[in-house]
């Protein structure tokens, strides 16, 4: 097909309305014709201007945040899949009970599932094998509260958190307990950044005058407070802390109920505990 015939097709090409044979002919010609390549780009600009002339229809903020969170989770997963240094061996894969993410309809949990999968894989893939710890749980978990708008929004809105939870060397510690409401918690330990992000669900309501306190339990039995937190009415909580711990000195994380204001050392038996498991 000659230059003039191809030029007649450029508008329809930009509109993606060509027959397959015309499109092939155009592509073949445009590869060697500067003019047609440039004019096609201009036609594409014109097509784009049609969309730009329409009245803006923004996504509802909540829907936008959910889609954004889902995309970020997919991207994190994608990156982990395309750049693994080492594949996780079966021995390093989570031995914990299957997470109930899939039973939930909330896209947020799909995102979280994708992200946590990557975190687990990432810790291994980035050469953290020697240090990588995984989680063993005190008891099985089944269902938990999957609706927490505040947590959802906070997680999906915070770009910084995504990178904190997805960087190389992030480890994941799950903590479970059996009780009436089956609390469940997950700790993301970004070792290079010394950042701890703790999320928990189905926490029992606080009794008045009390608070929950999160502890880092060292191998030498020392217990370091990582902060206090209150659950939301739906029993969810999130806590972030910065604290340097060498990877081989942490034994477990634990949550206790303490008097309001917190304690220097735990005064009650932990109701939620997640032990590091050396690989």
């Amino acid at each position: 097909m000659g230059h003039d015939a191809v030029r007649e097709l450029l508008a329809l090409a930009a509109l993606d309305a060509l027959s397959p044979s015309d499109r092939k002919a155009l592509e073949a010609h445009a590869r060697s014709c500067e003019t047609c390549t440039r004019e096609l780009a201009e036609m594409r600009d014109s097509v784009a201007s049609i969309g730009a002339a329409l009245p803006a229809r923004p996504l509802a903020p909540e829907r936008g945040s959910l889609i954004r969170a889902r995309l970020m989770g997919r991207a994190v997963a994608d990156r982990a899949n395309v750049t693994p240094i080492r594949k996780p061996s079966p021995a390093t894969q989570p031995a914990s009970p299957p997470l109930p993410f899939t039973s939930s309809r909330s896209p947020y949990w799909m995102w979280l599932a994708a992200a946590t999968f990557v975190l687990a894989a990432g810790a291994v893939a980035y050469g953290a094998n020697e240090h990588a710890a995984h989680v063993q749980l005190l008891a099985a978990t089944s269902s938990y509260d999957s609706e927490n708008a505040a947590l959802k929004k906070r997680l999906s809105d915070q770009q910084a958190m995504i990178s904190e939870l997805s960087g190389p060397g992030v480890m994941v510690i799950d903590a479970n307990a059996t009780s009436a409401r089956q609390p469940y918690a997950r700790m993301f330990w970004n070792q290079p950044m010394n950042r701890w992000t703790f999320v928990a669900y189905n926490l029992p309501p606080m009794s008045p005058g009390h608070t929950y306190q999160l502890w880092l339990v060292m191998k030498d039995k020392k217990k370091v407070s990582a902060g206090m937190f209150e659950p939301t009415p739906t029993g969810s909580a999130m806590l972030q802390a910065t604290y340097a711990v060498s990877s081989d000195s942490l034994a477990a994380i634990a949550v206790t109920t303490e008097p309001m204001g917190g304690s220097a050392q735990p005064t009650t038996t932990p109701f939620l505990i997640g032990a590091m498991k050396a690989e």
Binding site: A11, L15, D16, A17, L18, I50, L54, A56, L71, A75
Partner: protein, 184 residues
Amino acid sequence: MATGDEAALGALYDRYTTSIHTIAYYLLGQADEAEDAVEETFWQAWREASRYDASRGAVSTWLSTIARSRALDRQRAWRRRAEDPLDTTAQTSPDAGDRADAMAAAPDPQRDAESAERARDIAVALARLPAEQREVIELAYFAGLSQSEIAARTSLPLGTVKTRARLALEKLRAPLAQHRQLSR
């Protein structure tokens, strides 16, 4: 972006979600379908970031091209299902964005009102075009018809369809070119 930096995906999303959703909404007319198209658009952009060539156009053009393709894929899938009497999913599929084909479903005042509003917005957006060019653009851009489908629908020779499409896009390009001149 091309290095696989998801922060760039977030920035891209924040910057362009509204314009991408606008395109998807006007092509699909269904909130959930439009949302899926938005996600697919940004996902494709993320996966194919290395194919974006800044020397060949603006990011917004590249993204809106992807958005339109993803939305048209959905439209065409509806149309295929609607045309295949053995496909039982046709019962539940939304009516195709091709408005001329969309008369089958039961009356739904709200949907009819929304679709009338969309049609009006589209007419306003293309108001600078003469009616015969606008028709070709509507069928190509919004209904996703191919050149031969447009020719059949309008009973025009293929050559006339090509000419009208070219004249329309040249006319639509003018203000954009002026804008570029001014912003230089």
